[in-house]
Symmetry: D2
Subunit: 485 residues, 4 copies
């Protein structure tokens, strides 16, 4: 990778070319991902993070205290509640513009979490991780690179800890050490947008025991580093991107989920940010997931698109004035704003860490994510309700374009007189895309499992629910006096 300063979405797309990545998709190695029609929509979505910074700099950039320059907000360390809230507002906006996962949050959340954690490791261990990380961030800011945060290991048998697995590679670990750095082996699953990134930061996925030091490794590698293989996961309806435009629903944008395999890939010392300090792994995971769970506010932006699509199909069908239709749109709005509100409440309730970086409220971050795991599904159900059955029985674009059958479809699939049949098809396909198709992956299932499955949030809520204080409140009002004897 040649160093470059990326400004626009176009610059960014150009920057991804000719990297000679080892990428597999549908059983074959992909020559140039940028030009692959199934991959490209996910690159387009990422490019919007650059375009927005150009068009709405208040939303998507911030002055970096490190460089004194205006940098993309995804690369900025937030040092006030307002800045943490602004992350959410940017996320909602990008959700609105792309209708999918724009893939750049993991890196932002990883940098922000690592910033405070490395500071605290150094304070205890007299290590130099924090300074290294600051250098790295500064460099990323200068070039405006994208960072993918690689946390989730493949995990093998979930009932066993990393060191108890039959195959030690089920969790990423140091496989070899040299004076210059470490070599790592293992695999990270569900890696969002990683082949659209410039750098990866690997991080452990759970609290480690003191005898699992080889698993306690955090470090950065360029995406094109040797020893890394990428296998792109399938998404519902992904091959429609090969077909035409309408049936894809949202032809321009999509998410991306990849399995990354590290086969003795190398991390030099100056890019290592944790190395064996197992007692800090839980803290890192907790801070990262706190940031990341509240980042699901982006789904309120996608939700705005879904509400808009549902309102449009109701109009096209000629039923937009029915009270039950209006009421369902109100319910969708109510639910969608609940995601937004719980997210920004968590961000607004941020507090400073010793490093100066701000950390969002962890309890509310978990509440936000837990809401997302329920609300998006209910939104999808309501949108499908408003769409009508044609959502899943609509003939293909090819039929519509066919000289033979096309005119017949144009006649019979018409809704309201003044609405072209094609528009009705397009909006139905967008709803299909968001609730059953390619972007349902991000809007639904990934909303469920990303940043931790629902039960993970419940465990964190349990840890932070302060029952003792609440029990004292209740006992006082009930007139209960307890002996201390």
């Amino acid at each position: 990778m040649k160093d470059r300063n990326i400004l626009t979405g176009e610059d960014y797309i150009e920057s991804l070319r000719r990297r000679k990545l080892k990428v597999f998709l549908m059983g074959e190695q992909v020559e140039e991902p940028v030009d692959h029609p199934m991959i490209r929509p996910s690159i387009n979505a990422m490019a919007e993070t650059y375009n927005l910074a150009q068009k709405e700099p208040d939303v998507a950039t911030e002055i970096s205290p490190f460089t004194g320059e205006r940098v993309n907000r995804f690369l900025h360390i937030a040092t006030s509640s307002e800045e943490v809230v602004m992350q959410n507002k940017m996320q909602r906006r990008l959700g609105q513009l792309t209708g999918t996962c724009f893939q750049r949050c993991v890196g932002m959340d990883a940098l922000n979490a690592l910033y405070s954690v490395t500071y605290e490791i150094d304070a205890q261990h007299h290590t130099y991780y924090h300074a290294r990380l600051k250098d790295f961030i500064q460099q990323m800011q200068q070039h405006n690179y994208i960072i993918g945060g690689a946390m989730t290991d493949v995990k093998g048998d979930r009932s066993k800890s990393p060191s108890a697995q039959a195959d030690p590679d089920m969790y990423l670990h140091v496989s070899k050490r040299s004076a210059e750095g470490v070599y790592i082996r293992g695999a990270k699953a569900h890696q969002t947008g990683c082949i659209n990134s410039h750098w990866l930061i690997v991080m452990p996925t759970l609290r480690l025991q003191s005898d699992e030091a080889d698993y306690a490794i955090v470090g950065a590698l360029p995406v094109e580093a040797e020893g890394i293989t990428y296998v792109i996961g399938r998404q519902s309806c992904d091959t429609r991107s090969l077909e035409g435009e309408i049936d894809a629903g949202n032809a321009e944008f999509s998410g991306q989920e990849v399995l990354i395999i590290f086969q003795d890939a190398f991390i030099p010392n100056n890019l290592i940010f944790m190395n064996g300090e197992t007692e800090f792994t839980a803290l890192l995971v907790e801070r990262f997931t706190a940031f990341h769970r509240r980042s699901y506010v982006c789904k309120s932006g996608v939700g705005d698109v879904l509400i808009g699509a549902a309102a449009t199909i109701a109009e096209y069908n000629g039923v937009e004035k029915a009270s039950h239709i209006r009421d369902k749109l109100v319910e969708m709005t109510h639910l969608n704003e609940t995601i937004f509100a719980t997210g920004i409440a968590s961000s607004f309730q941020s507090h400073a860490t010793p490093s100066g970086a701000y950390l969002c409220d962890e309890l509310l971050a978990n509440v936000c994510k837990q809401q997302v795991t329920r609300i998006t599904y209910e939104m999808a159900r309501l949108a499908q309700d408003l769409a009508g059955g044609l959502l899943v029985t609509l003939p293909s674009e090819a039929d519509y374009r066919s000289a033979e059958i096309g005119p017949v479809l144009k006649k019979y699939l018409k809704g309201r007189d003044d609405v072209p049949t094609e528009n009705r098809m397009r909006i139905l396909r967008l709803i299909e895309n968001l609730t059953l198709g390619r972007n349902a992956v991000g809007y639904l299932t990934e909303s469920l499992h990303g940043a931790g499955s629902p039960q993970a949030q419940r465990i964190q809520i349990q840890r932070q629910m302060q029952l003792d204080i609440k029990q004292q409140l209740a006992k006082k009002l009930a007139g209960i006096v307890e002996d201390d004897s």
Copy 2:
């Protein structure tokens, strides 16, 4: 169509060949649907209705009072509560065996509804519809044919009645009349399994006004009749059937939804079962939808498959003993049995119509369907929760089969040691199939809109909720005495 007596699923599949239907799919006319890999799974599902009659005759057949012979239950007119309940038990069983929509219920429900309605038309108008229908049913029973019931018109602008549409063809109607019969024009949308059927019965889709007599037409046509064109609707992930086996999730079975266009197709007099009696259209629609809404009990059979798949992936992941996992399986079971219970309650509460045919309880039928529109979505969410994120990030079968990357995937996508990676992939793909993929169409969206959208059920519930009786109960207990003066 040569007359034949169909016994087995194989007989049935053979019976569909060489019919020279005019069928479009993906912009092209299909030579022989039976051999088309995207269509065949839907035919396989229908074939199970024959196979079950062979294997479990108590469940899927009944003695016909017309022929004295044992006939397929889908062609039988139920004349007792027990027989109406048995329809539900057969439906659940077929849902379990196919994991999808087996497409034969519409015909059963149409015959049963028409049986009583034609009787009542004849009583009032001195027509001969009932006798004709009995002849038709007897013939169907002899040959063991499949009947598709074609009700839902394309409807155009929903805010306008059939006769007020700009284009009169938005609702199917008689376009020409002759001494021998009638010619019909229009289109029926969302037609389940129609090209897998032998006969179609067209029926009006809503209550008609007295000046809309041309729309009040009920009659039977062979599927291969002249003047009929079929356009097969797209389903999420439908083209995976062209790829391999694993990624399809359920490679053997699927549903089928088709748009049927009638361009002056002919119905001879002896196959006309209503012709202009507009005041009976509401009754027909209500009886048909009552039967059909309760037929959604089939989704509890599909739900059994989904519960089984969710339990299996939990086991494969090694987490099946966690209390929250077990609790989610309990919740799925609770919800799934609620569908079953409300359906068979409606069937058990059947009452005799003047014709002798039994009609299920309409209020409970609507309650059953309304539950289905909510429960299946919640089931899907819970199943995705249990599946884990790999559900939507899993690489393709082609990658898994690839010599180059396959062995790496086999290593890293392993769950519990004693479970082959391929099995884990297969069960994940089945859950994807049911919640995002091809059979999510039937399990979710079609569960929402089939037999009427949720609001349609609410309107029926409102009509039958007998507020006056309940208000009297309340007033009595409240000590309210009302003047009659």
Copy 3:
């Protein structure tokens, strides 16, 4: 107690007098419960079980195979699915007529469960419990007595088994044995309607270990037996029965919950139906709770009253035509009928036990009860929504009757012009009664915990959900072949 044949509600009330029970309420011993204004409404509710048998014998009576005479259905052993369903229909009717718990189901469910369990104990142990029970039932039928089933022990520390409690009396047990019978000690909590009964049947509340034989005692005692003390539990707003009529909401009817303390009360041998056969305790509890959980169908009758009251207040407020009002009434109906449908589905799916008595479907019985624990609360919320805030800010009947302030209230609390203010007050008080007041106890909290708390149903659902069969269905469709080796 003089033996008598009770026919009417009046006979019944008379039969309760002069029994010299030891009953405590509000810190004082009650001279004659029948005449106590806080107790009487619960007796009135029970009396309706007699009145209904007079007015609607098809619903509330059956021909007894033991006596050949028509007996109250509450005393009948059901020997067909239809008879089990009829129990539910009677229960809904009585819920409609009383708007509360009419308290006679526990006895019916206990007799029906014991009938089959004693048969099976005898078959294994060559005991004579079944014959004794038949004699007892015959006697009860002749006199038309009410039986209270006393199951729930006070339990002490829930984390300990009966024999591990610090105080052995936390579970009822045999304290002394003689040639003539046994003496029992302990306490039964939440005893519905017991002082309105003629007889009590004590039963163990959970599965016992083989060394807990003294706790495995089932037997009958007259309510006025020596050694029994009753303490009546408080209910929300219970003292309003002392005040006037309107504020009580439902002045005529209420439930009753009592703590019974047995201090060496005696059961003669001929009234003992289990005595130490610990391995049958689980079976007894399961069968009793199966019957009893499905008996909560009564709440759909109470729900009818609540729907009626909600519709009435909407009318009185002049808002009954608003679409959101109508929609909430539809939702209430949908939910209420779901209770009914799941209950009768369980009853309809009954099967014969070796004794000839029918047992309802246990899985669906648990599904029914689980629905009740959620639906009644949602119904209450919707009813309060329709009622408006006046529900909880309404001045007292005394204010309304006051010469000074009454006329002002009459003016200002008027809703629609043609509705007397008093009627508006009355219907609001009825809704308060059912959702916050005295009958909220039965409609809500007791619906939650009676016949086992929600978790108890989940445990039973888990036991009966047959995951293995469902997993086989899923694996087959997913194409998974498992080695048997």
Copy 4:
């Protein structure tokens, strides 16, 4: 009322004496409300707003820009987002301390809304309302008085506007005018804590038409003004305050709801803040309800008490380690924090009005309130689930204190060995108090209807959901281009 400066809760209570109010309760005029055992708990709750200002001045006071002194936050006009958020934090704290409605929010929200609305009226009409209001606020701050905001009219027939009612007094209006001021007539229902206040501000309850100028009156009156009568509404279990201590559940604190009747009460000119400007009534109602709907964050404080009580009873029963118990506490916390988060998000998203006063985000305020109307009921259900059936079958305190039956109860109602029976009773009574009893009025029903019923929130959400913007987002992604022609 002698002018006084109130500091402590005790000062406050003293300040309420000897006001010779005309108050009715249970059919009788109350001599001195302060000493009435049914009224006093509501005064105690209000007193906590003073006590908190003493103990936690950061939370409950602010420096007034008018007086330069530290004043109670309830009397402060918020001029920054942070101050609006601090209102919510104070509200949660007071909910925690009292477990009920502390009744002072209406006044705070009314002052804050009027501050900006009077400014805008003056700007348009060249009136002097704003200056008058500032004088009034300054005076209130000096004396630290409590203001009750009286908005909700009794409304008569809801389907008719104020001027269309048969009786013109169904909405409060000017009955007479003089040079010195106006006389008002009508009645305000559901008036929270009004007889515990020093001043009342009357405001119209809905958007008025231009010919309804007499109804467009806003002004202040002392609570003891001539021509005002108060009738205290009944609350579930209110008379338990007359009995003892335990059965009340929360013996110290309660809410208060009153019907106020104005019979030509006088407002002098300098206390009139709107007088006929009908076109500003909608704005006033919207701003007030925006503030007030978000004020329901107080319920998260009451929710903390309920969670604490539920956790305590689980512990007392010995079941606190069961996974389903822990999970229900997690769910309660999740829901409770959703209320808090949506409220503070609305407050944080405040913006400045032309007057300089800040106004919370209206859309999110409505979302917050809508959540409250659902969440509190689900919390109550979960708390009752955790409490067990004894919640509604527990004998009275009098029985427990009785020499005869008390010791028996002490023995049999014991839970875990180391927990006194009385403590178990107390915590159960607190849960009853909050879910069925006196404080269920505030926690449930008043949460539903206060600041507008659920449908009122939905109407506001509909007004603010900006469908057009969302439709544009969707159309762009769907590739829909619309002609402007």
